[in-house]
Symmetry: C3
Subunit: 306 residues, 3 copies
Amino acid sequence: MLKGRHLIDIMDFSIEELDEIFKLSNQIISKEEQFSHLCEGKLLATLFYEPSTRTRLSFESAMMRLGGKVIGFSDAGSSSVSKGESIADTIRVIGCYADIAAMRHPKEGAPKIASMYSNIPVINAGDGGHQHPTQTLADLLTIKSIKGTMSNLRIGCCGDLKFGRTVHSLIKAMSRYENNSFTLISPKELKIPDYVKKELDNKKIEYSETSNLESTIGSLDILYMTRVQKERFFNEEDYIRLKDSYILDKEKISRAKDDMIVLHPLPRVNEISYEIDSDPRACYFKQAKYGMYVRMALIVKLLGIQ
Amino acid sequence: MLKGRHLIDIMDFSIEELDEIFKLSNQIISKEEQFSHLCEGKLLATLFYEPSTRTRLSFESAMMRLGGKVIGFSDAGSSSVSKGESIADTIRVIGCYADIAAMRHPKEGAPKIASMYSNIPVINAGDGGHQHPTQTLADLLTIKSIKGTMSNLRIGCCGDLKFGRTVHSLIKAMSRYENNSFTLISPKELKIPDYVKKELDNKKIEYSETSNLESTIGSLDILYMTRVQKERFFNEEDYIRLKDSYILDKEKISRAKDDMIVLHPLPRVNEISYEIDSDPRACYFKQAKYGMYVRMALIVKLLGIQ
Amino acid sequence: MLKGRHLIDIMDFSIEELDEIFKLSNQIISKEEQFSHLCEGKLLATLFYEPSTRTRLSFESAMMRLGGKVIGFSDAGSSSVSKGESIADTIRVIGCYADIAAMRHPKEGAPKIASMYSNIPVINAGDGGHQHPTQTLADLLTIKSIKGTMSNLRIGCCGDLKFGRTVHSLIKAMSRYENNSFTLISPKELKIPDYVKKELDNKKIEYSETSNLESTIGSLDILYMTRVQKERFFNEEDYIRLKDSYILDKEKISRAKDDMIVLHPLPRVNEISYEIDSDPRACYFKQAKYGMYVRMALIVKLLGIQ
């Protein structure tokens, strides 16, 4: 039963609860018009203490496509909400106006605190480098929909595995399903943190680490690309030397399986070459669409309407 | 008849007109679903030349809960409206798009000027340190709803009585009802302006001034708290010495009547201790909710829909 | 057939297609309530990479008055969309969320690029000093509605004819209709660019250039005023000497025909004296209203709903 619940961390929901959300997502995808009045009279508050246009617009279009409406702010700078007022007070006032809230905050834990004082469901729309559970929902729904399964997959994660929170959450989430394995592809400067590997070890989940995309791409069912940011490197030489190895282009994808899918949380900069966009394996724009649908399902479930 | 009228100053409306608004507010509160399509096809413009997220979201949720929609801007900085264009021209263009407007402006008198050129109702959503009549409407509806009367009340106003425009408006408004009296509680640096006292004298309304919350709280029916801002003091020593006297905590509220209510326009910083929130006398979050409902009623009345 | 098309340049549409839009605009004007549910369930994305409140609110009210909803951003500064992401990627993501997009961008050509990658109709809402086709649509609909014809008109363009893109587009658009002629009124520093005159020559369209509004106003059917910006002059003396000649006041308008109409894209600063506002020939606020109606018709046509 998801009615009235919060979503702060993807692990807040059981596999069964996630399945409930994915099932509803698929119903919405196949018969969207049947859901277009479901949230009439309901209000979503988008409380974005830092700008994240893509995520905000995904939430807002999700609510609007359900017939609901949206209030909110897109930047604490042009907002007075943050001026000295506690998150606890803000969410209690917002709870007077709206039926559900999505909160983005630069500080880790802020949405969690909000949820503790809130009388309406709070969705974490990203808190610092910490959690971004609706991105993970989007990733999972995309995998389930296109691959037809969440199990028995070899998942390659490529790029910045050190700071990329979406990758950490994806690994955590996919580890809950049967017989998945991971190939962790990154420069040594941006390797996955030890605590993630320890979790995999504890659960006896197979994984390997490599710095070579080209030689491993052939074994993957899923390739999850992330951005390698220049700022992460100590010196520019290393960056220049390394960055090309983590750019997905025609040459590299030619070694991949025909049914491998390429995912990316977007925005991309140059880590996926534009020539890949027309490859049937490129699924990152579909992923954005699935992200909207899964947010629709999530809103419906937390409001307890279905 | 409120159809087509503007609300710039709370004194623009007679007691009878205020009663009309409060009556409709209560109807909305008791049967909100009957009002959820009333403003369908209507547009509210929120013209916020300075950010005030709480007030803006209150207006926007009010309109949306009536089935209406909202256009606007939340900050003149990210708006081009203000660039050299007169308020008179702006409101005439907005009048082409929307059916009613709520204007927040850092300059005193700006909403008044807008109303003079406007062919749609203009609501003052706060102009500098001047007026904020919908906050006063919220205060009055809260008092009427919880105390059951607007008369025969002893109203304590505590904190910064010098600059606090909400207090000035509240005193003016409550002075119109029978047999109310005021206890004005502030440090001597932040005493109520003389002109307010002169008005009370002229109307032969009883009031007293004190710097001591603790010794007077026991006589109050209503305690209206406001923030004591550090910037108002000439030196930090005075501020530190004084501020604690104006913080409402468990100890101080233990001396109050059981049916006293605590109000606050929000946001609070630390002038009401968090431990008070669970006290049944704490009504400041209810007040935010009443603020939304009274704005719903106001919009309906000015549009002349009911 | 306009369904699924983009509007980047006013010349993208044939005269017949423009007529289709104007015809629908007039139907909306005469029976607006019949159109108030037409876009229910549809989403407009307003992608404003630079603020332009008037244009944005015109689009948003247009969509809302059709029963549709709006997502978007009003300023790239408070948006993360622009951070390193290409226009091509942004519009493909937006195409997952919305049904149609209006884009304002400081860079010339940006909306064109967006349209090349977009699976939803893209409307250019202004790109740098380049194009602003919906302003021209507003101008044309105003002329057609008030003058009753698009032909046989003498059109005076007054003010900054060098940088004023709305004037260039208006001349281009009105040149397509029969037997119009132009009087180009500006200080010599701000004369119309040669390429515009060459186009008029090629089409054998009559025009004259003058620096004197007073002596030519009597011959005009339409006077299109634009702002003379101080920044355009090399020295302040020239500006001060010249600016008054291009201010429309009672004295100057007394020489005009009774059925001449005064247009202005707004915002005005001081180039039209306030005393003119009550003159029946002043049509610039009506023009703002027509601008909203023509955007309603445009949205309906590009969505292919009617």
